[in-house]
Symmetry: D2
Subunit: 320 residues, 4 copies
Amino acid sequence: MTLDRTDPESEIARAAEAFGNWGRWGADDRLGTLNFLDEAKRRQGASLVRRGVSFSLSQRFDMDGPQKGWRRRTNPVHTMLDTGTDASLGLQGFPHGIGGADDVIAMPLQCSTQWDGLGHIFDHGRAWNGRDAAKTVTSDGDLVTGIEHMAPYVAGRGVLLDVGHVVGTDGELPDGFAITEEHLTATAEAHGVAVGRGDLVLVRTGRLARARREGWGEYAGGPSPGLSFTTAGWLHRTEIAAIATDTWGFEVRPNEFEHAFQPLHQVAIPNMGLLIGEMWDLDALAADCATDGVHEFWLTAAPLPITGAVGSPVNPIAVK
Amino acid sequence: MTLDRTDPESEIARAAEAFGNWGRWGADDRLGTLNFLDEAKRRQGASLVRRGVSFSLSQRFDMDGPQKGWRRRTNPVHTMLDTGTDASLGLQGFPHGIGGADDVIAMPLQCSTQWDGLGHIFDHGRAWNGRDAAKTVTSDGDLVTGIEHMAPYVAGRGVLLDVGHVVGTDGELPDGFAITEEHLTATAEAHGVAVGRGDLVLVRTGRLARARREGWGEYAGGPSPGLSFTTAGWLHRTEIAAIATDTWGFEVRPNEFEHAFQPLHQVAIPNMGLLIGEMWDLDALAADCATDGVHEFWLTAAPLPITGAVGSPVNPIAVK
Amino acid sequence: MTLDRTDPESEIARAAEAFGNWGRWGADDRLGTLNFLDEAKRRQGASLVRRGVSFSLSQRFDMDGPQKGWRRRTNPVHTMLDTGTDASLGLQGFPHGIGGADDVIAMPLQCSTQWDGLGHIFDHGRAWNGRDAAKTVTSDGDLVTGIEHMAPYVAGRGVLLDVGHVVGTDGELPDGFAITEEHLTATAEAHGVAVGRGDLVLVRTGRLARARREGWGEYAGGPSPGLSFTTAGWLHRTEIAAIATDTWGFEVRPNEFEHAFQPLHQVAIPNMGLLIGEMWDLDALAADCATDGVHEFWLTAAPLPITGAVGSPVNPIAVK
Amino acid sequence: MTLDRTDPESEIARAAEAFGNWGRWGADDRLGTLNFLDEAKRRQGASLVRRGVSFSLSQRFDMDGPQKGWRRRTNPVHTMLDTGTDASLGLQGFPHGIGGADDVIAMPLQCSTQWDGLGHIFDHGRAWNGRDAAKTVTSDGDLVTGIEHMAPYVAGRGVLLDVGHVVGTDGELPDGFAITEEHLTATAEAHGVAVGRGDLVLVRTGRLARARREGWGEYAGGPSPGLSFTTAGWLHRTEIAAIATDTWGFEVRPNEFEHAFQPLHQVAIPNMGLLIGEMWDLDALAADCATDGVHEFWLTAAPLPITGAVGSPVNPIAVK
């Protein structure tokens, strides 16, 4: 598949037409591809718990995170309402020697390991399922497809595609590397794992490992390996429920068009209704999968049900 | 067991002595009773996924929550950085028709459905495992037992004890009702379920159902059914990994001593190292359990790994 | 002047037509009636400093404020980044015995004593000076009339009109009391003070004094004395630079039309370009003015230059 | 005066002993040197309003500010609760064509132009007036000397000492330049202005002008010109009410001792009770003073009365 790199708008329109899912689950749908994750898939996923070992796929949420302020995305600010120092000095006014600590947080919902909600991206003023973006996401939040509607469902079979290890060097792909359908297929074959309807697919590029080694640099917003625009067909045809990567932006950066900004998002979220995860930490899980040769597992990655949110921090838990 | 209601300090000291776990998992322990949740328990839990149906046990996070400002605990404030209205009007400056929405949140970590971290409560200046509270939780957060350390582990066998239905009227216990060991045991027997080492136990009182029907009122901080101080022995003896309720404060309110504040917390968190969840929404799960008669399930309730946090919002997912 | 209480839209249109100032200070104007406050007026104002006594006209900013959550307006949440307890215990890691405390705040800009910026209210999609509201105030804030543009100018002659004392009972007007032009004129005459071009006019109703005595209740958003819709002509004719009250909403509540919401705002801000202050604490100043009989003074009430803000907290300082 | 650069602790102790003011205004004092600013000084200050021109001495508060995250100090995050785009599209649900915009802010109180409160710095566990730091500033804020107590008073005679212009090159001092008493005196003489009891002294170094030209770089926390530790005696002897600079940290950076952190703060705030302002924008005022040769003016710089705050953003207004 060749892209006209000078004409993203036409290419996006073509992909949206070919791979869109508007109306597939009815006019009132709020779940998009998460509809593919059914009870049978959950039973299959649960059967993958063999050893009982669990992994968190989340980065830590703190001021040492990757954000630099782009579009007012800061790192989380965590402050204390009460502390052990106050308690220790007897300053809290509680009876019988009890003391307490409490805390608050302020953070962008997309500051670290997160899901993009269906209201996160629009295509020419249209949100998921063809809705008017202006009537879907206002200053009051996402009035229709807020991420709270997904709260109970994101638990099923996870599949790791460690493209960094299979295709890259020392487990890492370079910035600007566009992962194609061929790379995804080759990786799945190398792992001996199949990807299909309702799966939660995790694509490891090694970009986070590099940031961890070399410092954040432009991890959040800069050059990165990621999915090629040309994978839109694969994303659609496989009928996966969700996909997540260890990169800031899921798709390759710089983008594959001359003047573009996240064109695969524009196809995948508002047109396909695909649930996308970003900045996941897949390294410990990948190391385990490399060791035991098993790249499928039970995965729970439930967004916080923040009413009207277009994204959510998440601590995904894989159990093998 | 009879309590001297005039002397909470002595009763707490006695319970702490009898039911404390300091040193049980070594001097460096950061997990407390979560140590009981091992890989075998996870395998057992996963085997409980029979139908593949999933439930979120989280309340929604928004301004309509229960908080009234006690100790600066507010409801979550969710605001938008970008919206569909801006995108729709072509005001975002992006190419090829892409538009986006982003959002931020500010919230106390204990504002709604949450876990108490091990640094949340102190006993006479001592934190979990006997540590000096002042050196454990400062303005920089919990430097030792921050909730990020629990991130990978809270997935296992869940057991619902619907005391509201078994002991109460119309599924609800009245405010001030102290749930005793006998109530817990009778409920487990009525459900035909056993509670043991490593389990994640959910106790439903019906308090949230009442708040949902009648309005929040004093849900957050006021009178409530909850665990009796006298259950400390049961909590210790059963070797459960964690416990959560549908109430604000886990234990009965008013407390069972004349001048007291959360005495069971003082035993359970810093002395026993027990992981406690509060304000969980157990109603949909309870209805399902009442229908199919199965009160055990796979439960994932991973806290966000907020560095140094003494609590975390959580969206617990039960799968049956 | 009689109002058709069933037709706010026509009455507003009439008043906007009669009392609007669009174009008066050029197409690029960002200041509205603040243009009336010139250097001569500042010289006059400074000459009113006779005794050198200063008054803060600000309520305190804290969790004990009036907000109840309407439209996500909360009270300020102030938390510490570092404390004296940490410093005292030697936990901060600084050399030679220095210790420090730092703090953060999260607050709506209209939570307490504040100015409404010119981008705060629109009339049928039009912002101040006839601008398209959609192109003026987006999710990025007020791109044109952000309150930062007023930062240097709000210092001049202040005049207190204590309508509560002159017209009310025991210094207070009842809720729902509509202050008319006649009340304003009578009060100025009783005080022996003239109101004119460029003045910063403070209208005391006594509503805050009542809230202070009886509790906040519905102070923020509920019934209140305030300016009648019929004062629009007086506000325009006097050519005052700004007006502020001790009430939540400046104008009388309930509003004087059957189905209405803040109709005088709709005339005064987008059409007249009037700078409006709310929730000011005028009581100490009013007591002093009653004592010495002087109701004019030097007033500095500079908004924080928050880029793109449509309001700002302010600590107004009157000096007599 | 020579400093032993290897022994900051002894030098600080000596200066604290020589220049401390504990008890000078009684045991209950909350104002420190602000006590020097009396009504006569305010009358003198007001008399300096000759032309009626006003200047804001505040930087703008936004994400483009100087903070880099040191000690969780971020730049302000300003978000909208309602916008003109929503209003324009008729999505707000208000009657008769009214629309509105509202906003919130989250910011450290010391992120930009600000006052240090008296609870901001401690000396060996002692806060201003000899108080126990641990009992003065807890997680609940500054319980004694919160900046709200200063709210009405910071209005008086301002004096600009443009050391950058008098002593520097092209109006700027280089980083690491320690401003001594001699520099301050020479600058005052060059300006023909006297500094004395109760004055609000503004020292311009040109550091902000350089940051504005070259980018923030390490403006917040890095090398900078500033007051020498040796000016402690001058600060004390002149009996000024407050001092502010156009730099991040008031005193010279790197500090003049080998292993030190802000030693002049340690003398000036907890021992002397001096009110210190930082990150003020003095450039426009300085240009005007250079033009008309008048370096004194009426200055109002009222902190927001945030209960228990150890600092406050401020928009200082100078009027000449």
